[in-house]
């Protein structure tokens, strides 16, 4: 039976996604109504904390299973609604900061159960969330907030992948490599507070190192040889690592003076790495949080292909070659890919629920005699 609490929170994340995508169209200069102008300004926060933040916080709340943990996705979802409605920044900012603090608290709870590197890596990521929201609340420019938003997503994902890599016979030397890459990246992000240009370049070095580590040690290298959803997830991941490495190179090369490259520096990570990861894990995470089946379909490669083709067009044709039309076209393909992802996933859920209506596993109702017979059998040899 569907988890209505999770559905409500996921809907807030979905609303934020739609608002963020509308903001993207505003930023693309596609003649959107003036009533949506503020969504262009809030695009980054809506997508990262409103959509992805709510999804991630909801995943963790489900994992922890404590009621208070659901305040994190609730706070980020409501923060996104405040942004969407054009409420004063203090309202949205306070909600987003509070949500981030609850997420950090969740990781404190996880750490008490399992004090491990992968948990602490994600805890560092969680700390980047409220820092990003505070910087935004303090009126710092978006370029100062972005490294923290990136830190939140990249370190959360890297921590998750580190955890799974344990199943692939991870050597202790490889763990040290992970710590080194993560430390360089984190140090760069912190440095952006004082020396933005140097900080971005150092963080870029960390991004390249993390991408290299993930590409070398992630189980996806092995599971890509399997089939179905397992292969799909692995392909989403491996393509994502290529984009992460490219982003790192751009961060090193351009620093805080990104200019035309700024768009590529951000979207190679947010779309190429993070959204690719989201596409891959949706068939796993949606059933986990909503308690509904989302069977894998080969058609999922369509939105994945559109995402990466659009991004390639946007970065190569738009940012590199300077074609405004190709930049717009690629970006619109990215928006379509995300919308198709939502529609295709929802259709898969509904299709499966419809098919299952007639094929529920038989649950026999025992007769009194049968119950008595069962009572007399041994419990376990």
């Amino acid at each position: 039976m569907i988890d209505r609490r999770s559905l409500a929170l996921l809907s807030l994340g979905g609303l934020s996604l739609l608002a963020g995508l509308t903001g993207a169209l505003v930023l693309l200069g596609l003649g959107m109504p003036t009533a949506t102008t503020h969504l262009g300004t809030a695009h980054g926060l809506l997508m990262v904390l409103g959509f992805l933040g709510t999804m991630i916080a909801l995943e963790r709340a489900v994992a922890l299973g404590r009621t208070w943990a659901y305040l994190a996705p609730l706070g980020s979802g409501l923060g996104a609604v405040a942004l969407l409605l054009g409420a004063p920044p203090t309202v949205a900012g306070a909600l987003l900061v509070a949500a981030g603090i609850v997420l950090v608290s969740m990781y404190v709870a996880f750490d008490r159960i399992e004090a491990a590197l992968h948990i602490r890596t994600q805890a560092v990521a969680a700390i980047a969330w409220p820092v990003a929201a505070l910087l935004w609340l303090a009126g710092r420019p978006v370029s100062a907030v972005v490294p923290w938003l990136v830190a939140f997503l990249v370190l959360i994902i890297a921590g998750e992948r580190l955890e799974l890599s344990r199943m692939g016979q991870l050597a202790s030397r490889a763990r040290l490599g992970f710590i080194g890459a993560g430390a360089v990246f984190s140090a760069g992000v912190v440095l952006t507070l004082l020396l933005p240009d140097a900080g971005v370049r150092v963080a870029g070095l960390g991004l390249v190192a993390l991408a290299g580590w993930l590409a070398s040690h992630d189980l996806a290298r092995r599971t890509v040889r399997m089939g179905g959803v397992t292969r799909f997830i692995a392909i989403c991941l491996l393509i994502g690592y290529a984009w992460l490495a490219l982003a790192g190179v751009l961060w090193i090369g351009f620093g805080s003076t990104g200019g035309a490259a700024y768009d590529a520096m951000l979207h190679a990570i947010f779309l190429g790495f993070v959204i690719s990861m989201v596409f891959g894990h949706a068939p796993v995470i949606i059933p986990a949080v909503l308690r509904v089946p989302l069977p894998y379909h080969s058609r999922f490669y369509l939105h994945l292909g559109l995402l990466h083709a659009g991004l390639l067009l946007r970065i190569a044709g738009g940012d590199l070659l300077g074609s405004h039309v190709l930049w717009q076209l690629g970006s619109v393909l990215n928006v379509i890919a995300l919308l198709l992802f939502v529609v295709s996933s929802a259709a898969a859920v509904l299709q499966e629920l419809y098919q299952r209506r007639g094929s529920q596993p038989r649950r026999a109702i025992p007769t009194a005699l049968q119950r008595e017979a069962v009572r007399s059998t041994e419990h376990r040899s």
Partner: protein
């Protein structure tokens, strides 16, 4: 329930419970649990060492599982998969799945088959 490894169906086909004419043995439970696959890894939950205990009482299966980390949200996903797999068995009337992290999972719990599938050497 106290965590114990699930006996291998091939070596310990223990009869644990049953209805009239519908015996349920642990081998059948074990085989059904092997149909529940961790989608990320493509390996079943028994070989991953995620199943700590399985028993059947009065037609009710009680399964104790873990996830590879407490931050993993797959508990409900695996719970639903286990219920779906076991309710197909004759003699299983209900399924209770409990998720625990005591003791914590570790790669040592993986079977040789799982290690082989995930590319372990040596």
């Amino acid at each position: 329930m106290r965590p114990e490894p699930v006996p291998d169906a091939a070596t310990e086909p223990m009869s644990v419970s049953g209805l009239l004419g519908m015996p349920v043995d642990l081998g059948a439970i074990n085989e059904a649990l092997r149909t529940v696959i961790d989608p990320e890894l493509g390996v079943n939950i028994v070989d991953l060492g995620l199943v700590y205990d399985a028993r059947v009482t009065d037609g009710r299966a009680q399964i104790l599982i873990t996830t590879t980390t407490p931050a993993c949200p797959l508990g409900p996903y695996l719970t639903d998969g286990i219920r779906w797999a076991l309710l197909k068995l004759d003699g299983i009337l209900d399924v209770d799945v409990e998720v625990t992290h005591d003791p914590l999972w570790s790669p040592d719990l993986m079977s040789d088959s799982a290690r082989q599938q995930l590319g372990w050497r040596g």
